[in-house]
């Protein structure tokens, strides 16, 4: 069985781009990824992709080229990019195809997401009474987590300070202005204990990746990055998840724990070997919790790692080096692939001002989303 390599990456800048549709941003990213690999769309043997609010990915062929390739739409909320990657990985690893593209893109209206409970199999009452709000869930999850692990809420502002500092060094980021932890902590409270600047915002952007059989990667690039492990998991009975009218008293590991464990196992890599990590930070509590859920550190250790700078770009466990969701916003379909794009830049040594020093060799990505799903990747050079 062959391995899988990423040989081309492309991105449309995240944030707000007035007058440019989500589909146009996707085409921009796809062309950039193809150019990066020195390929044309007619070379692609398959496509997987998706967006949440910006149209069907398979319709992009009208602009990219009507070549007859199988292009399959993927829709898994925040894990849309991860699911597209899993599908591409399987298509190549199985020997079905040698070379293809994944595309994630989105363009959301301003303000928090408003989701229809009916799409989640929940009665209309849940939305009408104001419980179908993602920001609330994250407030309650971190509230319980701080209580269980005896952590102080002050660290939540420090995480956002790092995100904006990294975003300021990333030309593709949306939020490029640094903020102090004090300013972040003093901002309006959205869902206690999380303030306005501790949350990411729905936004716009697109990412595309060209993948191929690992043994052919050097035909397209002299710096291939290998997809060593990729895994997706949904929730188990007893895990506490977004959009849950109830949860079980018996606690179970969340999908992040199981997806990251499976991705590391597939790669034959230990979490302690990770040189750079992009983990879901839809708000700063998520980064805090996901640091431990992914196995990058132990529960309760995060406060010291964050306050001593270990998770900064120059630290020994750099996390969200491109500014994460907080500085980039969250175009749902593109967000997971942004993380992979950033890790490819890091492993190539091409991340410029936000490059992690010391020639990182192992990268890790993690997304989490409704209704309790997680997708993770382990990348090496």
């Amino acid at each position: 069985m062959t391995g899988v390599a990423i040989v081309g990456i492309g991105m449309h800048r995240f944030g707000r781009t007035e007058g440019v549709s989500g589909r146009a941003q996707a085409v921009h990213a796809a062309r950039a990824a193809l150019a990066d690999a020195g390929l044309r769309f007619s070379d692609m043997q398959f496509g997987f992709g998706g967006s949440h609010s910006a149209g069907d990915a398979d319709t992009l062929v009208s602009e990219l080229g009507l070549t007859g390739l199988p292009f399959i739409n993927v829709a898994n909320g925040c894990a849309t990019g991860g699911s597209a990657l899993i599908a591409a990985d399987a298509a190549i690893r199985s020997g079905q195809h040698d070379l293809g593209i994944v595309i994630g893109f989105d363009k959301h209206p301003r303000g928090a997401f408003n989701t229809d409970p009916g799409e989640h199999g929940i009665g209309a009452w849940y939305g009408e009474t104001g419980l179908m709000v993602t920001t609330q869930f994250f407030g309650m999850k971190i509230q319980r987590y701080l209580h269980d692990h005896d952590l102080k809420a002050g660290v939540l502002a420090t995480i956002a300070e790092k995100a904006f500092r990294n975003g300021a060094r990333n030309p593709m980021a949306w939020r490029r202005k640094e903020m102090t932890a004090d300013e972040i902590a003093a901002a309006p409270m959205i869902s206690h204990p999380l303030t306005q600047y501790m949350y990411c915002s729905p936004g716009e952007g697109a990412v595309a990746l060209v993948l191929c059989r690992a043994d052919r990667a050097r035909a397209y690039t002299d710096k291939p990055v290998f997809l060593q492990g990729v895994a997706f998991r949904s929730r188990r009975y007893g895990s506490f998840e977004v959009f849950s009218p109830w949860t079980a008293i018996d606690r179970a590991d969340p999908p992040t724990v199981e997806a990251s464990r499976a991705a590391f196992a597939a790669a034959g890599v230990a979490p302690s070997e990770v040189d750079v990590a992009q983990i879901q930070d839809t708000e700063t509590g998520a980064e805090l919790m996901h640091m431990a859920e992914t196995g990058l550190c132990a529960h309760g250790e995060q406060e010291e790692l964050i306050t001593t700078g270990a998770t900064a770009i120059e630290g020994w466990l750099p996390i969200n080096t491109d500014g994460g969701c907080i500085a980039n916003g969250e175009p749902i379909g593109a967000s997971g692939l942004r993380q992979v794009h950033e890790n490819v830049l890091q492993l190539r040594g091409a991340a410029g001002e936000h490059q992690v020093p010391g020639d990182p060799r192992v990268g890790f990505t993690h997304v989490y989303g409704a209704p309790g799903i997680s997708a993770c990747t382990v990348l090496t050079r």
Binding site: N114, D116, G130, Q136, Q143, P245, T247
Partner: protein
């Protein structure tokens, strides 16, 4: 109408000798509970679910305060509202509105009980949903 009050969805509620309770379901095979009712058991994957009233009292498991008015499909009034999960001993942890909106007065572990609370004003009068309030100790 539940207890003479208009509610967002009467099927969420059931009568008990102690008063109105949330209507849940319990698996005959493994004992798992759900809210609202459903036909399949999320724990053992069977389909032997039976309707049961859920406990009217519990303890606060986690909480937050909704700081902005949610977009549609929210239909409630503009006032801030508390949101929490309340553990109903031996059954499940239910998500609920909280009557209390002052973070200083909310603590994980505090005892709470079910109430029918107004959340929206319709031309015909207030519409209620379930909420939990602190039990005076």
């Amino acid at each position: 109408m539940i207890d003479g009050k208009r509610t967002v969805d009467d099927t969420l509620f059931t009568d008990t000798p102690e008063g109105t309770a949330l209507r849940g379901s319990r698996c005959d095979d493994c004992g798992a509970h759900t809210f609202p009712t459903q036909g399949g058991c999320p724990r053992c994957t069977g389909s032997a679910m039976r309707e049961v009233p859920l406990a009217r009292t519990g303890t606060l498991w986690s909480w937050t305060v909704q700081g902005f008015r949610p977009k549609s499909p929210y239909t409630g009034t503009h006032e801030p509202y508390g949101v929490g999960y309340v553990e109903l001993t031996g059954q499940l942890i239910v998500e609920t509105r909280l009557v209390e909106t002052d973070p200083e007065k909310l603590t994980i572990g505090m005892p709470m009980e079910l109430a029918l609370v107004p959340f929206r004003d319709d031309p015909d009068g207030p519409v209620h949903t379930f909420g939990f309030v602190a039990v005076a100790s």
